[in-house]
Amino acid sequence: MSNENIRKVTTHISQNEGLIFEHSSPGKKAYRLAELDVPEIDASAELGAALRTESAALPEVSEPEIIRHFTRLSTWNYAVDHGMYPLGSCTMKYNPRVNEVVSRLDGLAGAHPYQPEQISQGVLRIMKALADQLIEITGMDAITLQPAAGAHGELTGILLMRAFLESQGNARKKILIPDSAHGTNPATAAMAGYEVENLRSNEDGMVDLAALEAQMNEDVAGLMLTNPNTLGIFDEQIAQIAEILHRKGGLLYMDGANMNALVAKARPGDFGVDMMHLNLHKTFSTPHGGGGPGSGPVACTKHLEPFLPKPVVVETDEGTLRLDYDRPQSIGRVRAFYGNFGMLIRALAYIMANGPDGLRQTTEDAVLNANYLRKKLEGTFDLPYSTPTMHEVVFSDKLQSKSGLKTGDIAKRLIDYGFHPYTVSFPMVVHGALMIEPTESEPLEELDLFVDAMKSIAQEAIDSPDLIKNAPHSTRLSRLDETAAARKPVLRWKLESK
């Protein structure tokens, strides 16, 4: 393995650690219960046949073992706190610490969702403030904070579409989805009871307007469009797209996963979008948490507002806030309670830390960073679309495939260089895609190191393709056998498998 080009990282000791069950031994404890201040009771008399007779085999371990276990495991993860995490479409930006602190304040983290409104004014004020600011940022008229993630927001948005069209007399049958769309879009349409019809992109990577004209008819409820799309391209025909849909009674849903390219620079409400979701865990800095929790508010225009999930926060004449459940046209609930409230706190703290100037600079830096990488890597990697891009850039593995290497191989080698890989093989309109989104959080030094790493790998692809094929070389584990995992799934630990 040749490592002379790797400047960003040095390998170091990493602790081995088994499964927590393998530390378990009867009698070890990490707790002590408080003294019981009421009489003891006989559980078997109390529960009768409902008494659990066989204990759940949870591990028996002590507190220091728990701390070591999860600390050791944590060191095996790559995270934004380590360095650039250019996972395209995921907006892996810095997660501010103040967000974590304020979301844990006792009066907020300890609030019960059903506590009386008279003692919930603080949490309701937070929800109202965030709602108002997201409405201003998107240029839409109304919003729900209930959806728990982007895909959940999509479902909410498409149900709004459906309810609206139904109120007009016909829910229609199909949703158009561009071939560049994220998998959650078609999956969502199906969950909302719609057929999916594929809409092809033109050679610039945008919606093919002629195709849209041809496919749009009274059977089509609407279009789910990501803008900028998953190629990072802002579809400049957006107003015409909306016009074509609206003319035939359809609606335009915008997947707002890429709002990090637009905040404070353009507002979807101004260019004809009827409803859209935001991913607070992307654009608004709430942490990704190893896969979640997220939050996916859905903003919409006035004519869709009556259909929003209930309850909604409303202000009374006296200036107090309350939850309004009396929404006869509502699509209903999409989740118990009011949403991932803890994430709403963090998103609001982020907006406050930025202000209008900070939000604008953030977007500009995100787009600047992506274009800098594009410029530096163009030529070294194939750029399938020459159209200008915003906050992310998608290359293909065409040049490296001559050495038998795929985007996934290059990604694995990038790990050796100290980076989290980009998004691999998505969007599907690009064969062998390398989808790179640096976000605004990367300093110039980190971008330059990334450029060096990518160029060095491109050279290795010519000189020593096997080095890449067998990467990563510096991780605890080498490439894992995913085929075997799926062929004979082992999805839980058992004593025998020790």
Partner: protein, 441 residues
């Protein structure tokens, strides 16, 4: 702006490298009439100290330090301090979905351990990595039952959390999935005869909650027999995960959907929480959400990967088992750590304390008003019928005693009159129970 690691000189350098004169050129693809040329009307940029102050003020408006005798799907349990100490490590909370297993073994192994513990608790054979929450998990479980059975209607017990039923209704409506409800009897349990009569050859599943919304533990085995005799699946929703420490697990179910909030997750005004779906091995290909499996690397070392992804939206698109992508991973990690802290014995002892507190509360309240549903076992909740309106009681308790009282049932169960569901956990002091009992009438 303090989160942006660039000087103006660096920005200028980058523009030069790109070969453009100004940042505006990069926004040229946005048609001019849609470019925002004014400042957003959001609050001005604030200092960290100002942000902390603002949220402290909101927290104070909310009031804190109340005793909580309220559950109803969100439970006030003690959160061991190691949970936040561990999940505050950036390696956990600033990573994402473990798409690259070689640099995500921490997250992957933790999920594998979580899946194992959920199986142990629920009596199921496989569990997924998490769902958004208990309500959406229940809705997805119903759709999963439809796929498995090829049938397309479902029966929900009326004693299932009303908001869970509302969520299921939202999901089911556009799937062309008719829902019917089955009543409870005067012991608070599902009416078995009515259930038996309601199941048709088109019933994909029966969904119950246990302990149910009234805190009553259902006769899961009997309900399973009734459902299975007619080829329907049984889905059991568990909203109070701690009950599984002492209550027989719903092993006869085909799908268990759990809200794990009780395990060390802050109440946080209703979220983020963590749902989980657990089921039998034979149904694994219909389970929604992410799964982690064990495998080996090229040197034969044990490792973990996301697996059976052909069920998921990024591969199957409109044919996927669900549209879920981002889940509740960090919350699942909190519950995972919690289960390690209490372990095999602690979870039982803690559940036993809850049982004792609730029994004591029932006795105290019972001297002032009528405890309903005495004929069946309960865990840490119970229904109290009063002569006074339940909202009045709740307002008075909050204002006078700094106590958050029971959940008024009138809105969802008008037939129960002035009733509320109360909850006592290990954190509910005897003094608070006595004070609250002193106020009800």
């Amino acid at each position: 702006m303090r989160y942006l690691p660039k000087s103006s000189a660096e920005r200028a350098h980058m523009l030069r490298e790109i070969g453009i004169g100004s940042i505006d050129e990069l926004f040229a693809p946005i048609p001019a009439q849609f470019r925002l040329i004014r400042d957003l009307c959001v609050p001005r940029q604030m200092a960290e100290s100002e942000i902390v102050d603002w949220f402290r003020a909101r927290a104070a408006e909310n009031g804190d330090g109340y005793d909580i005798l309220l559950g109803a799907g969100a439970y006030n349990h003690y959160r061991p301090l190691v949970i936040d100490a561990l999940i505050s490590r950036g390696e956990w909370f600033t990573a994402y979905t473990p798409y690259q297993p070689e640099i995500a073994q921490g997250t992957l192994q933790a999920i594998f351990e979580f899946q194992t513990m959920i199986c142990e608790l629920t009596g199921m054979e496989v569990a997924n990595a998490s769902m958004y929450d208990g309500s959406t998990g229940a809705a997805e479980a119903v759709m999963m039952a439809m796929r498995i059975t090829g049938r397309n209607s479902a029966i929900l017990a009326r004693s299932v959390h009303p908001e869970y039923r509302e969520v299921i209704a939202t999901y089911a409506k556009y799937q062309g999935l008719p829902l019917t409800e089955v009543a409870f009897t005067d012991n608070g349990r599902v009416d078995l005869a009515a259930l038996d009569a309601a199941i048709t050859p088109n019933t994909a599943c029966v969904l119950i909650q246990s302990p149910n919304f009234f805190g009553t533990i259902e006769d899961v085995a009997a309900i399973a027999d009734i459902a299975h005799a007619k080829g329907a699946l049984l889905v059991v929703s568990v909203a109070e995960a701690l009950s599984l420490g002492i209550v027989r697990p719903p092993s006869e179910a085909d799908i268990v959907t759990l809200e794990a909030q009780s395990f060390g997750v802050p109440l946080s005004y209703g979220g983020p929480y963590a749902g989980v779906i657990a089921t039998r091995e034979k149904f694994v290909r219909q389970i929604p959400g992410r799964l982690v499996g064990q495998t080996t690397d090229r040197n034969g070392k044990r490792g973990f990967v996301l697996t059976l992804a052909t069920r998921e939206q990024h591969i199957r698109r409109e044919k996927a088992t669900s549209n879920i992508c981002t889940n509740q991973a960090l919350v699942a990690l909190m519950t995972n750590i919690y289960m390690d802290v209490y372990g095999r014995e602690g979870i039982k002892e803690l559940a036993q304390q809850n049982l004792a507190k609730a029994a004591y509360a029932r006795k105290q309240f019972g001297t002032k008003a009528r405890v309903l549903f005495d004929g069946a076992p309960r865990f840490n909740e119970f229904v109290l019928q009063t002569s006074e309106d339940a909202y009045e009681i709740s307002h008075r308790l909050a204002a006078k005693n700094k106590i958050i009282g029971g959940f008024p049932l009138r809105k969802f169960y008008p037939e129960l009159g002035n009733a509320a569901v109360w909850c006592a956990t290990e954190l509910t002091s005897r003094a608070a129970i006595d004070a609250a009992a002193g106020e009800v009438k």
